[in-house]
């Protein structure tokens, strides 16, 4: 789960990382009193988990606290819409933080290097822009240090790394200390990404984590109790949030063919087939192993929440999942939700004959193969 900026900075501050002063507010009065503490010279930032927040009008600088408070009043409850997130998100909280003067901007991150099966720290003098952009234009500006899984990081490795990254002397010691705190935070809070961009050097020579992105490993929420309650707020989309509450693996896409299948690989493959047949998938939805009728119904209901969906493709290869249970769930969903859009179902594997018999005579169009199913659903939704 992605943490909000204020949560990320709180977490880092708790581990001793220097972050700009500030606090989160959900009303104009609180925003004003926080801004007053910094003499009114603050930045107000909408706390929504979407890209393009600044361009959408969710970030603004102020020199007096009343203006910051008025802006907060306008922002709370407003739906921000960006290119990255056309459906938009409603602002519930803002971060009111002191403005800091920046002399130079660097980049720091900790993440998993899958190929090496080790954590890796990435350091760059080129902060302030997307790291992908740096990787493309100037790859030698990114210095990587692997963290030994048994022994951790050694100081000499970090001294060598910040030197190789051409970080100026005044910032080197502070950066080494910050990196060690970031790795400790990563491990103690089960993060799966920590990114500091920019990591700012002030004209006075102080290194500050000016912006922070932290994401926590969803699989570790059972032992990261502080984040358990806020888990579904972190979804970037309302249907995805509902799916998280129901415990269903669902990703919203922007096409018109709803897709339901079992097993991540098979669902991805069904999406590919829909695209190959000339359609666009509206979602990724994995019903999971051993789904009962009730769960299948819940999945159909979820897909139908997206108003763009014009037809549904259901592709099940039953291993642990029984096709007759799936068929019952589909029929229940169609009856109870009064679904009138076309539904094509391809069911194979355990109890497939029984499943097909249940669906025979209903409005559901049967298909022999995944390819045939994709062609049939695309033909009816085009």
């Amino acid at each position: 789960m992605k943490l909000h900026e204020y949560q990320s900075k709180d977490l880092l501050a708790k581990h001793g990382v220097t972050v700009p002063g500030g606090e989160v507010a959900d009303n104009p009065a609180d925003a004003k009193s926080i801004a007053d503490r910094f003499g009114g010279k603050v930045v107000v930032k909408a706390q929504v988990l979407m890209g393009g927040r600044g361009k959408a009008g969710g970030v603004k600088l102020f020199t007096d606290s009343q203006a910051a408070s008025d802006f907060t009043k306008d922002l709370i409850g407003k739906r921000l819409v960006s290119i990255q997130n056309p459906a938009g998100m409603v602002v519930e909280k803002v971060l009111v933080a002191e403005q800091i003067d920046i002399a130079e901007e660097y980049y720091l991150s900790v993440l998993m290097d899958r190929a090496a099966s080790k954590l890796v720290v990435m350091i760059s003098k080129e902060g302030g822009m997307e790291i992908e952009e740096v990787a493309e234009k100037n790859p030698e500006a990114i210095v990587k240090v692997h963290v030994d899984p048994a022994w951790g990081l050694c100081d000499y490795e970090l001294r060598e790394a910040v030197g190789r990254a051409n970080i100026p002397n005044v910032a080197r010691g502070q950066m080494i200390s910050m990196i060690k705190k970031l790795v400790k935070t990563y491990i103690e809070s089960d993060a799966d990404l920590i990114e500091i961009n920019p990591c700012a050097l002030t004209p006075e020579g102080k290194l500050i984590a000016a912006d922070a992105k932290v994401s926590i490993d969803d699989n570790a929420l059972f032992r990261q109790l502080a984040y358990q309650e806020t888990a579904d707020d972190s979804a970037e989309d309302e249907i995805e949030a509902e799916a998280a509450r129901r415990g269903i693996a669902y990703v919203r896409l922007d096409g018109e063919v709803g897709i339901i299948g079992n097993g991540a690989g098979l669902v991805m493959c069904s999406m590919d087939e829909v695209k190959a047949a000339g359609g666009q998938p509206a979602d990724f939805l994995d019903v999971g192993g051993g789904a009962q009728a009730e769960r299948v119904k819940s999945c159909v209901e979820l897909v139908m929440m997206d108003p763009k969906v014009k037809g549904i493709l259901i592709n099940i290869f039953g291993g642990i999942t029984r096709c007759d249970e799936v068929a019952k769930g589909i029929l229940q969903a169609i009856e109870e939700l009064k679904i009138t859009i076309p539904v094509v179902a391809r069911i194979e594997g355990t109890a497939a004959e029984a499943g097909r018999a249940i669906l025979a005579g209903s409005q559901i169009v049967p298909a022999q193969s995944m390819q045939e199913a994709a062609q049939k659903i695309v033909a009816t939704t085009r």
């Binding site: 190929a115 099966s117 032992r223 991540a264 098979l266 493959c269």
Partner: protein, 292 residues
């Protein structure tokens, strides 16, 4: 012949008394797998489906000589179970459990690598089957058939889909290996391909990959040197960057893990890449005909 498991494998099941564990152990016994022990702390001395249950892996191994282990233990305790079974000296461990914290995967993968005494398959995998001999996992046994094709895949149901096509086309399998959908798996494509290349019974290999990571590209490096033909399929060609597609490992991020990058690497290595799952048997037949 086969790789990793065969009719002589003596299988220990950790978490055998749980709902999933007992259901699948029953299915495995029915298939003919030699399940010799179950491990559930606190249930030692009991018996389930004729299989003795032990409190610890150490005791189970000492009493039964188990040489392969299958784990159904819930995610919060799964890493500990892997380490316990490694310490008990079991050389092959298969972890079915889904949802392992990535830092737990990091610990077990690196410790097993450093000690070098046990191989880990998974987590979050469907398991492994040598048709007609040993089924260690959650796959439906009836869709597999013995034969000359080795198969390795990151996805369970997509394996079933393609195996079903192969079996119907008369192409049976030596061993089918599910390496799982986690970002830090134990055994990866490359190692599995090396084993299939060395297995005299395997004549061709099907490799089913998906978006995310660079395991397919690493596998392709080895395919360049292989004498046996490889047919591959990559799923997730329409998945958008930055979104996890169900599997924790299936994500295109920072320009790596793209489907095109994988397809290009495989083609450059001399593998055939199927556009559709249903094309796989035809491509295998062509490849075998060229060799014959």
């Amino acid at each position: 012949m086969s790789i990793l498991v065969n009719k002589n494998s003596k299988v220990l099941v950790a978490g055998m008394t749980g709902r999933e564990g007992s259901f699948h152990t029953g299915q495995m016994i029915e298939y003919g797998t030699n399940v010799v022990a179950g491990v559930t702390p606190g249930k030692g001395g009991q018996e389930l489906m004729g299989v003795p249950i032990f409190d610890t892996a150490e005791e189970a191994v000492a009493r039964t000589g188990a040489d392969a282990a299958l784990i159904f233990v819930p995610a919060p305790f799964a890493a500990d179970s892997v380490l316990e079974i490694e310490a008990a000296g079991v050389p092959f461990i298969c972890l079915i459990t889904e949802g392992l914290p990535i830092l737990d995967s990091l610990r077990i993968v690196n410790r097993l690598k450093a000690n070098g005494t046990s191989k880990l398959l998974g987590g979050n995998c469907a398991g492994i089957i040598t048709p007609g001999e040993c089924k260690m996992g959650i796959m439906p046994g009836h869709i597999f058939a013995p034969g000359p094709i080795g198969m390795v895949s990151r996805s369970g149901t997509l394996t079933y889909e393609i195996v079903w096509e192969l079996t119907q086309a008369g192409l049976g399998q030596t061993t089918c290996v599910g390496i799982g959908g986690d970002p830090l798996p134990g055994i990866r494509f490359r190692e599995t391909l090396e084993m299939f290349e060395a297995d005299p019974a395997t004549q061709a290999v099907v490799m089913v990959g998906e978006i995310g990571g660079s395991d397919e590209e690493e596998g392709a490096e080895f395919i360049k040197t292989m004498k046996k033909p490889v047919v591959s399929f990559i799923s997730g060609r329409t998945a958008p960057p930055g979104k996890r597609m169900g599997h924790a490992g299936a994500i295109i991020s920072g320009g790596t893990g793209t489907p095109q990058g994988k397809v290009d690497a495989l083609l450059a290595a001399g593998a055939k890449v199927a556009d559709k799952t249903s094309d796989v048997p035809g491509l295998i037949k062509e490849a075998l005909a060229v060799r014959a």
